[in-house]
Symmetry: C2
Amino acid sequence: MKALPTPSGTETGAVTIYDVAARAGVGIATVSRAMRGSAPVAEATRARVLAAVEELGFRPSHAGTSLAARTHAANGIVFPDLSGPYFAEVLLGYEEAASRLGRSVLVLATHGRPDADAAVRDLAGRVDGLVVLGRTVPDETIAALGDVPVVVVARPVLAGVDSIRADNLTAARTLGEHLAGHGVRRVAFLGSPEESPDVAERWRGVRDGLGAHGIEPTVTPCLFDEDSGTRVAAGLLAVRHRPDALVCANDEIALGAIVAAEEIGLRVGRDVAITGWDDVMAARHARPALTTVRQPMRALGSLAAEVLDERITGDRTTPRHELLTTDLVVRDSCGLHP
Amino acid sequence: MKALPTPSGTETGAVTIYDVAARAGVGIATVSRAMRGSAPVAEATRARVLAAVEELGFRPSHAGTSLAARTHAANGIVFPDLSGPYFAEVLLGYEEAASRLGRSVLVLATHGRPDADAAVRDLAGRVDGLVVLGRTVPDETIAALGDVPVVVVARPVLAGVDSIRADNLTAARTLGEHLAGHGVRRVAFLGSPEESPDVAERWRGVRDGLGAHGIEPTVTPCLFDEDSGTRVAAGLLAVRHRPDALVCANDEIALGAIVAAEEIGLRVGRDVAITGWDDVMAARHARPALTTVRQPMRALGSLAAEVLDERITGDRTTPRHELLTTDLVVRDSCGLHP
DNA sequence: TCGCCACATGAAAGCGCTTCCTACGCCGTC
DNA sequence: GACGGCGTAGGAAGCGCTTTCATGTGGCGA
């Protein structure tokens, strides 16, 4: 609104490449070349052009550029949801890496909205490539994106599509065996495996790990938030032969479960073991501190950006599949240490 | 890579408005009108066009559209950083509201990078409006954005620019008075007021509230993460006449401070009061639970998107300044309740 | 001294869309 | 029966940029 924007003074709209060309006394092609370095320009001319750019405060219009150059210099990322530390961290890593690679980031949270499909397709139309997390849209939608490079994160491998995942299976097995070592007998898994491929893997791993010790866990569906954790755990713990271990699909559920256990007078880590997944900040501050599994969330995001970039630049044409390691973090909520 | 993308089969690139026009046997102008409803089109023609659109899987190119219509259908949001629950929640609210309003969201984290200025200007060139959080870029940068609508969040009011803030001052005063009621005498504020306008307000409010009871707090600079909180608090608590209350600029610092206090055998809530700000998840799970101030983070984000939209659509031309209320959440870390 | 070549540059053709302006039917009316 | 008006649709001109193609200039070798 102030007079600041256009040093030239009178202009209303933005300054275009024509203004710069006129000012520098050259053609628009030369301005373009001087700025992008796409072809040689005499040193004196380049200096003149850059001076004009500076004086006029010229910023090339992105719409014009992407139309002509058929590129967007932007990446997309699709989340099922944006709440919780997990997604924030992944986004953080992604944004950091993408902007280091000179790309803007467009975020989209499908959040269970019915038109998620259309939203993703729309997004695909304004980026050079995109990352899709977990169960946001069906495989068909991804396949139908056509020639826009896609990297899936925390989702099963899809033919021809790059993927990046954390190794849920191994850590889950280790967790199951660790719990068996604590002498638990009746184990309940809280979470909905069918809601997320990641959770399905965790469930499978835990079952394997416990199964090796003759323990057969049960699964109880549960939304991935604290309140649901409290509610579901309360129901589970209220019965006569209650479980002596609650393996939760994420930390939020586990933290909620701890509340439920304490409410009915159970000592977490003694009367009942409770474990989470993700190692969010609250996990280590809770008392008893939560036994959980740490996954490299930020690395998941930054690696996704890098893998995607290879596709966009065409540096690589064969699919790449990465499996990042996770760590079991043993604290007090799973039982007293020997 | 598969044959899925273009039902027409042979096409390599994307299908354009010309393809649709040819298929429907109309001109491109009619296709545009039929799709956007910008002018009346005979019902039969419209049906024919829409059928062609459907069959060809036509998606208008965003670059073409924004170039011709001089609009981007996208909003930007600039964060100083993306870590921590605060920003994630704000983004969540923003994305939700923006996409409800039919706009994509571009995120940018300046993260102390030296070219933040250029990055913000670049961002401004690809959106219809943007939100700037806290101390990411100087006022001049915002002013120089010219005619791109801007809404600042958690930042002092700027002439002619819409703003949305949480009421730090009132809650901070209340917090100061509450602590005074607990009988504290030596109060240290942990955080760097000069780093963030929000924090400066919190510091001012706390000082006011305590000052009313004859207590003069001191301020100790501190980065806004747990480790810094632990380190700074450890230093503060190690001296002979240690503070009996640590007022922390955010929950991360406070949680870190609790660790430091417990490490040297102090009982938080008895020997030393510790308070935070934000009410993150870990605050209520920590033991003792953290006394803190809850701010409507998600509302901050969604309101920003709405206020921005009013500017973009031109529904409003006078600045709007919103101050959202915050709540003191008293738990155990600030002292035993009478 | 003449001719050729490399280099630097400008003109112009799009990129895919929106929209103004014009043209064409068809209807109702005098 | 001819004319004006309205509803509908097409042509074409941009939007701001990149890039191809053609042109002009100077320098060099012969």
